[in-house]
Symmetry: C2
Subunit: 347 residues, 2 copies
Amino acid sequence: MADTTTYRLILIGFGAAGQGLARILRDRGSWLEQRYGVDLRIVAVCTRNRGTVYNTTGIDPAVLLDAVAQTGHLRNLPDQRDWAPEDMIERADADVLVELSATNLADGEPATSYVRLALENNLHVITANKGPIALHLPELRRLATEAQLYLGYEGTVMSGTPALRLAWSSLAGCEISEIRGIVNGTTNYILTQMEQGLSYADVLAEAQRLGYAEADPSGDVEGYDAAAKAVILANVVMNAHLSLSDVERMGITTLTRDTIEAARAAGERWKLIARVWREGEQVRASVQPTRLPLSHPLAGVSGATNAITYTTDLLGDVTLIGAGAGGTATGFAIISDILEMHLLWGR
Amino acid sequence: MADTTTYRLILIGFGAAGQGLARILRDRGSWLEQRYGVDLRIVAVCTRNRGTVYNTTGIDPAVLLDAVAQTGHLRNLPDQRDWAPEDMIERADADVLVELSATNLADGEPATSYVRLALENNLHVITANKGPIALHLPELRRLATEAQLYLGYEGTVMSGTPALRLAWSSLAGCEISEIRGIVNGTTNYILTQMEQGLSYADVLAEAQRLGYAEADPSGDVEGYDAAAKAVILANVVMNAHLSLSDVERMGITTLTRDTIEAARAAGERWKLIARVWREGEQVRASVQPTRLPLSHPLAGVSGATNAITYTTDLLGDVTLIGAGAGGTATGFAIISDILEMHLLWGR
């Protein structure tokens, strides 16, 4: 335990998740080293428009955070490089690619190419980006296994709340036959607010004003984000090979104040439920608004909180409830993958 | 992954948990071997009055289960030994002691002596017995560390639902500042039934008839069982050194139909809550009936189900809900510890 292993990290993207990770490293880097024997150093940060820095001995996370807080970018810092992310992956002295660029569910790019290139260049990969994992997991997993590298993606579902690790590691030995979850915080926030009697349009406008929903909200309200998470759950937890188009998907835009009030009057509640289940040899997945009795464990999950219920053979239902978004929570997901990597590969 | 490691198990006790473990090994022993590379063999079973068997090549779990189903004991099986558990621990060719004798919260005996002796005889130890873990964890952990042996006890809290592993492993890197849980199924069942308008005495009698409560129910209804779990949570998750007497404890026997109805009328619900929290440098623990608003994640946990909420710095509240008792669930806790042991020690 006295030994310390150093991991040099390349960050691609320095938005909420990257800054969350930097805050954790700033505030408890030495605690992590003392307690878990890992010395985590950000050696490079690549952003699209806010500068790209590289220093082989490590960049103080406090300096990165101060720069962003004061100027909104990293372009005034020393050690600037005019390298594209591909150059950084190929040229930097590093151990781990931390891929945190914006999610693209159309083709998973450019993140998927970065991940492939990193695995070809002997870097472990940790990502919170749903694109590569929802669209290309089998291929990326094969590449990582062949290269004997770690591929971590706990942050893609429920951000830092350890939903994948619970199923994959803590429930190892159980058969999981069904998964039901509230995996999109924006829609759950909207539904929770609509129960107070507000209209969909009013709540959406308020959510956009607060930054909970994007200007084009279709990724959330049409269920695409939840569908991507259903694919990840199906492929990771139930060993399926689903694509996004395999998910029966219905969003929440058809729910009115009246339908919500009708459920309430019947002692029930509408939730946007992602569901994955076995049907014979097949694994199927759906995302759709579902009326749940108030006694159901998922019915009480309100606001931006997420939750997943695993139905198992040996334990019955196991439900995990926690944060589903946020920079610090996603930053923690990265830390949590690093610690698992260290346990499996590092010692 | 093609390599298989054999673990030879000594079972002490063959009640609900031991039989649950045997059922899992009977039904999916070869699946566990294929999937996780562990060949798990019961080489010995010691019981107080129902026979003691030992066979160095392994005893078919189906044979053990059939014997108990047909005769209630193991005394007609071949390979009988008139050895005390101590003899078995010292003489058997084995790798792991699985300690499943009855819980004794007064002094943790005889289980604690068995665990000590096993660690002295180079056996890993896995137990679901709250006695040794609630009363003697620091000493036993030290012995195991010194001998470089595994000490597993996931089954002591929430049986197979991975409450300790969630905190210890999946939330590693977070600071946990408070734990609140419904960790005793019997009292939660009684409170849930009392909400239907039944009296404490009637519900208790019914619970005893169904086998949910013991003839002397004080261990459950006076909060001793929950207090033992609070001590384990404090010492394992928050690194404290509490004793059972440090827990402020109040049971549910003072709750009447009227107090329960008053809470219901106010939109609240009584739950027996085990709580562990930091107060300055100290860790404190209590068990007491607590009125929760219906919107609280623990308020919806009904019947014999258990739940624990961890309050963390990086993720906010993380809640785990699942089975808190049962032979199969506790058997799974043992399997789950074996798989962790294999990951850490076995390869």
